[in-house]
Symmetry: C2
């Protein structure tokens, strides 16, 4: 599988939903496989909150491959012998695309809290501008889980001629208060940490010291990605005996896992990006620029494949089902298919339970239009 | 309904499960109704994590009555015309019973982080010592929800001759990792807040300033008490229009609710008590001092009534069901009854959905032995 990683710099403005403008802006992206002569074999993969454009393949020196390496590759569900796959780091993120730590042209000053609020629509619009610059005006499919699914839905509604198929996993048509509440804990933990310094922190120092705000935020997020059952199976009540049971700070395995994971997280993610991307997730609502969900879905021309996971508590199967039902209501039953995957992994299932849904993706990609 | 509020001081030692000793110790408690001549009309009500002995009635100047006022009173499910109800503030708490901010006799120094880790068994043992001092050696029933249910189960196992009936709501036989994880977020938020000062904070100053650690902790707790559905019904996606949608710090109603509730919480709860009581909850495991749950339940002589709530995510109905099943396994089917209440209020249902379970309590209390 051929992999390229690049950063594309745009001198032109990106007009945001808020009315504000990013100019210039940059987009980091990765591609897998080869673009065919008539540019008709494109698949766009969209990443989630803490994901990046590094969706597949292994970087030299890394131990872990890209976040969907089990799905994207030669002979895999998204077969790179056939498809040219592109994954773009969303604006607002911290892996190379323009975000809060980018510099405000032409100064040397970073945006920090003056960075504009971005939306899922903005993320998608930026991607479209990248594809345009690559001469790509059509895709076989747009695929994404969680916030990636929001982007896929947004492609379907706002760029209805771009992709034939939209495969949406573990996502929603509008973020519900349960998810907003988990983000709230994280956002407050970040903002209220004195080390946040109103966004003017020194990232290197923050990482050396270990930034409590983002750690606590990550812990809150992690709970929402799992389920009571998956935690039970993964950790049980295992307690490290070296910690005395009657030691106030003794830890259960689940606590050690949360510690380890969140300490790690701080080393590779940025607190301001966390604030901006959770904001984009919170205000995501496919009805916002339309009268209703029906009205918004009227614009859809491609096919919608919905893959929900039974134990997903962050974006409930019922929310995904609501997308299917709304499509049916407006006589677009032939354009929508809903799958509910039995899993007790919770929201994380779209990253973990590949064998349970890879065939759905393969079949969706095979299906004639 | 006659109400008395008192603090009982014990000069004798309380031997804790950890091997440590509290000496002297104090217990704050409240009683409702009147004790009959042969002291045979006692009902013990046990409170949850942030509850207190003020279970019913309205204090002068207060707007809110005790936490289970809709259940306890003349003519209510726990009828104070018939029963003498006692609710004791658990040790480790901050409403009058000995806790981390109590003074280490005979010094003027407060325990703070030198306070011993307490367990649910310790909380129950302290209550038994209070009842002894009141000449009460038997109860018609012990009733509690959440951590109160853990206490009720502990009464049944460790003091099997004390109560005839044990009514356990929204609780478990052993705290599972999902609940421990929510507590983890809260505990880390408290400990990592610089204002915590390793437990040596000035509580008044903390309250004046507003203690972020405990606020964030409360938010995390609050999520666990609700459910996706109950949040959806309560808050939807309502967003205060006065906050611009593209304002990074603009808030949804669910966020404002969490702000309001947690700011309030800091004014009436203590961070160290939160650490000690969540520790007691985390390490609660009815099997710990026995070989197995069967072995532990062999000791039970009274009746067990289990009231689970369908949408409770903190202590799942399946955990309550496991108590029933284990009782049946050891041929104690006649001593156990399981009820599953249909509610989408989540864990909080035991405080909110009174009309849905008050009859179960009434019938349980009526049932002959």
């Amino acid at each position: 599988m051929k992999i390229t990683t690049a950063i594309k710099k745009f001198k032109k403005p990106l007009y945001l939903e808020s009315g504000r403008i990013l100019e210039p802006y940059e987009l980091a992206y990765e591609t897998y496989g080869e673009l065919n002569a008539d540019k008709s074999n494109v698949i766009v993969v969209c990443h989630a909150l803490t994901g990046s454009h590094h969706a597949a393949g292994l970087y030299e020196g890394d131990r872990k491959p890209g976040w969907w390496d089990r799905v994207i590759g030669d002979g895999k569900a998204i077969d790179t012998r056939k498809y040219f796959v592109i994954c773009v780091n969303v604006i607002g993120s911290c892996f190379g695309s323009t975000g809060p730590l980018s510099k405000i042209y032409p100064t040397d000053k970073e945006y920090r809290l003056t960075f504009p609020v971005i939306t899922i629509s903005d993320m998608v619009k930026a991607q479209i501008s990248l594809f345009d610059s690559l001469g790509i005006h059509k895709a076989e499919a747009v695929i994404g889980g969680s916030m990636g699914g929001m982007q896929a839905l947004c492609f379907a509604i706002e760029h209805p001629r771009f992709a034939k198929k939209h495969i949406i996993l573990a996502s929603t048509y509008a973020t519900q208060p349960w998810a907003i509440a988990f983000n709230k804990v994280a956002r407050e933990a970040i903002i209220r940490d004195p080390d946040f310094q109103n966004g003017e922190y020194d990232l290197e120092k923050l990482r050396q010291k270990g930034f409590s705000g983002l750690m606590i935020g990550r812990m809150s997020g992690h709970i929402s990605y799992l389920s009571p059952d998956s935690m039970q199976k993964k950790f049980g009540r295992f307690y490290d005996e070296r910690d005395g049971l009657y030691d106030l700070f003794g830890k259960f395995q689940v606590e050690k896992y949360l510690d380890y994971n969140s300490q790690n997280f701080v080393q590779w993610f940025d607190p301001l990006s966390y604030l901006y991307i959770t904001k984009a997730i919170n205000i995501f609502d496919a009805t916002r620029n339309y009268h209703s969900l029906e009205d918004s879905f009227e614009r859809i021309r491609g096919k919608i494949y919905l893959i929900a996971f039974k134990s997903d508590l962050l974006f409930l199967p019922s929310e995904m089902k609501h997308i299917e039902e709304t499509m049916k209501k407006i006589n677009k039953a032939s354009q929508v298919r809903y799958f509910e995957v039995d899993s007790d992994y919770g929201h994380d299932a779209f990253l973990v339970e590949i064998p349970k849904f890879e065939e759905i993706i393969m079949n969706a990609l095979k299906e004639s239009n």
